[in-house]
Amino acid sequence: MEKKMGVYICTGCGIGDAIDIEPIKDLVDEEFNISICKEHPFLCSPEGVELIKQDIDNEGVNTIIICACSPRVNQDVFFFGPDKIVERVNLREHVAWSQEPKDEDTQMLAEDYVRMGCSKAKDMELPEPFKAEQEYSKDILVVGGGLAGMTAALEVAKAGYKAIIVEKEDSLGGFLKKMKKRVAPPYEDLYDTGLEELVKQVNDNPNIKVYTSAVVEKTSGAPGLFSVQIKTNGSVAEEKVGAIIQATGWVPYDPKRLESLGYGKFKDVITNVELEQMASNGGIKRPSDGQSPKNVLFIQCAGQRDSEHLPYCSSVCCLVTLKQAAYIKEQDPEAVCYVLFKDMRTVGQAEEFYKKSQLAGNIFIRGTITQIGEEGGKLFIEAEDEFLGEKIRLEELDLVVLATGMVPSSQPEETPKMKAPEGAEDADEEGMIEVPPDSGFYAKPALNLEYRQGPELPTLRYGFPDSHFICFPYETRRTGIYTAGCIRRPMETARVIDDATGAAMKAIQCVEMTEKGMAVHPRSGDLSYPEVNLQRCTQCKRCTEECPFGAINEDEKANPLFNPTRCRRCGTCMGACPERVISFKNYSVVMIGNMINVINVPEEEEEKPRILVFVCENDAYPAIDMAGIKRYKWSPYVRFIPLRCLGSLNLVWIADALSRGIDGILLLGCRHGDDYQCHFIKGSELATVRLSKISETLERLALESERVRFEEVGISDYWRIPQIIEDFMNTIEEVGPNPYKGF
């Protein structure tokens, strides 16, 4: 596209009072050869916008540089159609509202921002959406045919899409097949599982195809373009799908590990799973003598909330016990059920069901078991009763039920191992270390992805491939692959249904956006995508290793193979690439490099240091905006450059900036570590890792390491912004001016 640039400067909101516009107009013309540069006292007014529109119509302007408020506001006002490039220069929050008006330094700051904006606009191209050569599929693969899987498939189908279910057993239903009844809102009663009806609906739906006794042997491709090999009854079928829902459910915690609670030792100690099966198969009987039990004890948290077993709460066991106590009462109204618990966790409206169970005469004891034994064919236990504050003894128990917990089907029985990197301290004798849960090589096989970063979804602790994000619970680290149901976290059936329904939504949304060449969350709708110049690639593998979403495969020569539909457009690959061969149409190493290059670096004698601040545009940038809105003041020597994510930070920018005489470089990014906040998972962490390697560069340039600093800034930390900048300015002052000035 032949660019015709126009610069429009708003003098409203105090901008006109803070800076002189004429010198800016001059530099736009002189330094960038842009002949159209206009000012308006109220640019976002209809009249202001009209001014721009006229230039578009009459002068053919197609690249518009708006020097006004923050790009976070008035996006709709300054939108002139998809074929126009709009670049925003933030003269309001970052200049007029945070700097001394009519000050020389303020003026220089504004001028630099306009330069950077013009430079950026010059280097930017309109992105063209990615379109694969192959045909896109909008079908959804659902792995797992239990309640979650069937629900997801049905919801997909009801929305007009096709679904394919792959179920490893010979019939649909999953755990529902073992269940007698369901406990669900409004918690007034027990309800039928609805299994038959559900299976019928699935089987009758022409939009759903079911493979039973089947497993996914291989999944290759990318969203919109997945190719799945399904092994079923000795043959292999191939399906093309657009997105995947993994709903492979859970397995009960292995009760053999609960010998201390009498399991395996006493016949009449059983698990809640075993009781459920008995209940649905004709009745609850004592395993020892086949009698119907009169006195039944349920032991809650049989393994759960226990660092030796499952440190987490399994969330459904309280409800399950209440349900099973109801079975026992139904079978024998004279029977008595005791429930030994730590905390009753009947959240929400389920509290009603707890009350109902109490009213049925079931007895709830808060405490911990200290002993279990057998006497005259009956079981007894001793426990510390916290309500009574005394030791208690329960005798004549016919049955003891261990309320065991859920383990995600993704959790391997034993932690897999991998070759330790050189120098790893925790390597074993064979030079192996345990695979961390957030690796694609950790989980048990279910999808068999042909991904360079591993065949399965990375997981959180305890093997749940759940989202780490509170606001984005469907986020996974493999684009277009969503999880649903108890594989994500232990949940009751009502929640499983909701969850699977939501996963269906995400899956169809993904195939729709993918087809249009758009990114999915969090840069939803972004049409840009990374392009690589393979000629200059050195096969260093950094991009393929560091992509947080496993989007890049490798060929046998270790060349990166980009899968644009897997890509989230964070630019981590671009930041990782030492050869600078990865770029987006509107975001590139060169583009940012040129922005750095146009910053005016005064001579040392002028005593006007220059600090470059790379800012995460998702969190730190809004925080700076807020600081401006609060009219906080900070040094006029800083220059902010927003980045898509600090993961896209390329070290060459730091080297370039320092060699140009810029005195210090500050990185403002998200929190990392266990509770990371980076929307691209690893971005800010990778930036710090890269930063740790900058010392080499600094040494080469004979510069002090203090000149580069990373600071964690959350979006609400706007009140810290002035302090962070001041602290850094003080450091730079101590270190002294960059000796490269004027080279």
């Binding site: 009753m344 049925a360 007895i363 709830f364 808060r366 208690i392 329960l394 005798e395």
Partner: protein, 189 residues
């Protein structure tokens, strides 16, 4: 060590009004926290309920707590599970008296005498009630008791706050007794 006795509760459930509600208790402690005489109780009400659930009825019936209810209704008003805590305490006291387990003799006697007044006359004669209450342990103790309270009596008398004439039974006393007898029979069903 407290051992469970599964069947012992049956009688309590029959003999104590609202006793079935003890199962609803979540042991939150609101009842005791709201009770004016909580500091004098051996077991707080919720623990009485927990003990009842174990079937250790004697522990409960021997507890003084069940006689220390001032009928202030705080526990009833505040119980998050809507349990008639006060009524259960009353019922337990009634049952304890019936079973001859009287941990607070004064209160038990006073209450019984009070009821006798009603049964006898349909109304309560305060003077007669206190006389009977003071003399419930025989004449010697009665005189002692009465003397210890004589100052009060005299004050009341002097201020015209003692009815001198004895209360006569109400007109419908006979029918009232029939009704009360029948109510008692019905209660045991």
């Amino acid at each position: 060590m407290i051992s469970w006795n599964n069947n012992a509760l049956r009688d309590v459930l029959k003999e104590v009004d609202y006793a079935e509600e003890i199962y609803k208790c979540i042991q939150c402690g609101m009842c005791a926290g709201s009770c004016p005489l909580r500091h004098h109780m051996d077991y707080p009400p919720r623990k009485i309920f927990a003990l009842l659930r174990t079937g250790n009825i004697d522990l409960v019936l021997n507890s003084k707590s069940i006689f220390l209810c001032t009928s202030c209704y705080s526990c009833i008003v505040r119980c998050p599970r809507g349990i008639h805590v006060m009524d259960i305490m009353h019922g337990l006291a009634h049952y304890a008296i019936k079973m001859g387990k009287i941990s607070r003799k004064n209160t038990a006697t006073f209450g019984q005498e009070f009821w006798k007044q009603i049964y006898k006359r349909g109304r309560v004669d305060e003077k007669d009630l206190s006389r009977r209450y003071f003399f419930s342990d025989g004449i010697v103790q009665g005189i002692k008791n009465a003397l210890s309270m004589a100052d009060m009596g005299i004050i009341m008398l002097l201020h015209g706050r003692m009815k001198l004439l004895p209360e006569k039974p109400i007109k419908g006393i006979k029918q009232l007794r029939i009704m009360l007898d029948k109510a008692e029979q019905e209660s045991r069903r």
